[in-house]
């Protein structure tokens, strides 16, 4: 997963729900240097009885915001969705650098 262009990740989930799976896996995909390289990661754990849907909110360097539906999407489709935008940003940055 390309994480270079993500500036902010906000998740909110109830770990006791099976639907929290993709949100939790997304967090585990972020590299060890994510925080030190300027990404803000905020996680809110809901209590066990809560039935609120798990949410994943991502902000990119170019200002694009993504609100991904963790309930329905698996981790693969989330990564795909994030990479789709990141690749465009990467292409732009490669052109600017070159």
């Amino acid at each position: 997963m390309i994480t270079r262009f993500i500036t902010e990740v906000t998740t909110r989930f109830n770990p006791f729900s099976t639907r929290a799976r993709s949100a939790r896996l997304f967090l585990s995909f972020l590299p060890p240097t994510a925080r030190s390289s300027g990404m803000t990661i905020a996680t809110q754990l809901l209590p066990r009885t809560s039935a609120d849907p798990s949410t994943l909110h991502i902000k990119f360097k170019d200002g694009k915001e993504m609100n991904l539906d963790c309930e329905a999407m698996g981790i693969k489709s989330i990564v795909e969705e994030v990479d789709r935008h990141s690749r465009a940003l990467q292409k732009a940055s490669d052109l600017a650098d070159g």
Partner: protein, 418 residues
């Protein structure tokens, strides 16, 4: 026993297969037969756990025509090679393998044959013999994963307090910093040489293999070792014996854990595995305490998942190491998702509640005892009250009646009692 080589020089190479560990008795038997010109070699082979004993008959007289020098000891490596590769044996001519009549020292060889044959015949194992140190398993017992599974089941059975963390790509130095801070905090709440110091020293923060831990949880909950039916196997002597194979890698444990989660229907609410299984996703680490000690739990929570009013993080002045970049980087990546305390599953708030119990289990017990005592006191006074008032009424009534009946005899009574 096989004679594998014999030549005119008067040497015979004999190879005997014996069960493992019977080389020395065979050698002793040969020694008893007073055979002086025998050389016995022994080699442990990977072939069926047998010992190959090479015996060479060395004749003092070497054939004068061929002037053949005494052969160097070659029987053992040769024997091993053919034992490992059976096709080589079949390639040899059968004549070579049969004991030939033209052997120069027939009597000597017969001694050796007799001794070896009796020994090897007596140690044949029964076909369904199961070594007691290697019971049958449903999972391969010698793999790392299986042994890890056994570690986890024993951990789950012996550890009353487990906190489950998700760890998101911590580096090794971050783990070291987190563990260091945890150790410091746990040591602060324990006094030297007491139980609390023991608890602190055995507290652990360990990364687990999530799927194997999941299987271990299933085995711990659904496999009851006391209900496994015994199996009949042969003992070493051939006698049939009943043995119970109920270890965690056994077929019984495997079936129990598989059957419990088979099908689509969800596990019942009461099932501890059903409650905890949604937590077991992604990279996990466990914090384990060998006893339910809210003081230690509170110390660990204040480090690993600080929440200001109840479990504040140590101050920068008191513990500067906690606030350095590496430790903070590590702690930010650790996420407390739940806990398992005394077989009950708790979420973050539940864990905090347990950490907030004053005085630990003893404190709870004292509270309970006090509650029961005060309730009992009230009950006894209430129950006593009715009978007391009845007794008082009756007593007063009696004295009134007595006064009425024997009004003048008051004086006599007083004298009697005195």
């Amino acid at each position: 026993m096989h004679v594998i080589r014999q030549n005119e020089g008067g040497e015979a190479c004999v190879r005997i297969w014996l069960p493992l560990g019977h080389g020395p008795p065979a050698r002793a038997a040969i020694g008893d037969a007073k055979i002086s010109n025998l050389e016995v070699g022994e080699h442990r082979s990977a072939f069926g756990g047998s010992v190959i004993v090479g015996i060479r008959l060395v004749h003092p007289t070497v054939c004068p025509i061929h002037k053949m020098p005494p052969r160097i000891r070659c029987a053992i490596p040769r024997g091993l090679g053919s034992a490992v590769n059976p096709s080589r044996i079949s390639n040899r001519s059968a004549v070579l393998r049969l004991p030939s009549a033209s052997a120069p020292s027939t009597t000597t060889r017969q001694y050796a044959t007799a001794a070896a044959a009796t020994v090897s015949g007596g140690f044949r194992l029964p076909d369904d013999y199961v070594p007691p140190t290697k019971p049958p398993t449903a999972r391969p017992s010698d793999t790392r994963k299986s042994q890890l599974l056994r570690t986890y089941t024993s951990l789950l059975r012996s550890t009353p307090l487990i906190l489950i963390f998700q760890h998101n790509n911590l580096t090794a130095v971050e783990w070291a910093a987190v563990r260091r801070e945890l150790r410091i905090a746990l040591d602060n709440v324990s006094t030297e040489g007491s139980d609390s110091a023991d608890i602190a020293s055995r507290a652990q923060l360990q990364v687990i293999r999530t799927r194997i831990f999941d299987v271990a949880l299933k085995i711990v909950e659904f496999h009851d070792p006391s209900k496994v039916a015994p199996t009949t196997v042969s003992a070493l002597t051939g006698k049939k014996v009943q043995v119970v194979y109920n270890h965690d890698l056994s077929k019984a444990a495997y079936d129990a854990s598989k059957n419990a989660t088979k099908g689509d229907e969800p596990l019942p609410e009461s099932s501890s595995y059903g409650q905890i299984s949604p937590l077991l996703i992604g990279p996990l680490a466990l914090f384990t305490l060998p006893a339910v000690s809210p003081a230690h739990l509170a110390a660990a929570l204040s480090i690993l998942s600080p929440s200001p009013p109840a479990f504040p993080a140590p101050s920068k002045k008191k513990n500067p190491g906690y606030h350095d970049a590496i430790a903070q980087g590590g702690l930010q990546k650790l996420m407390l998702v739940g806990g398992r305390i005394e077989d009950k599953v708790f979420d973050l708030d539940g864990v905090k509640w347990v950490g907030g119990i004053d005085g630990g289990l003893d404190g709870l017990r004292a509270q309970l005892v006090y509650m029961l005592q005060s309730a009992g006191l009230g009950l006894t006074t209430t129950l006593e009250g009715a009978s007391k008032s009845l007794w008082l009424t009756m007593e007063s009534r009696r004295s009134v009646l007595e006064e009425e009946q024997n009004g003048g005899k008051e004086g006599e009574k007083k004298e009697e009692t005195a």
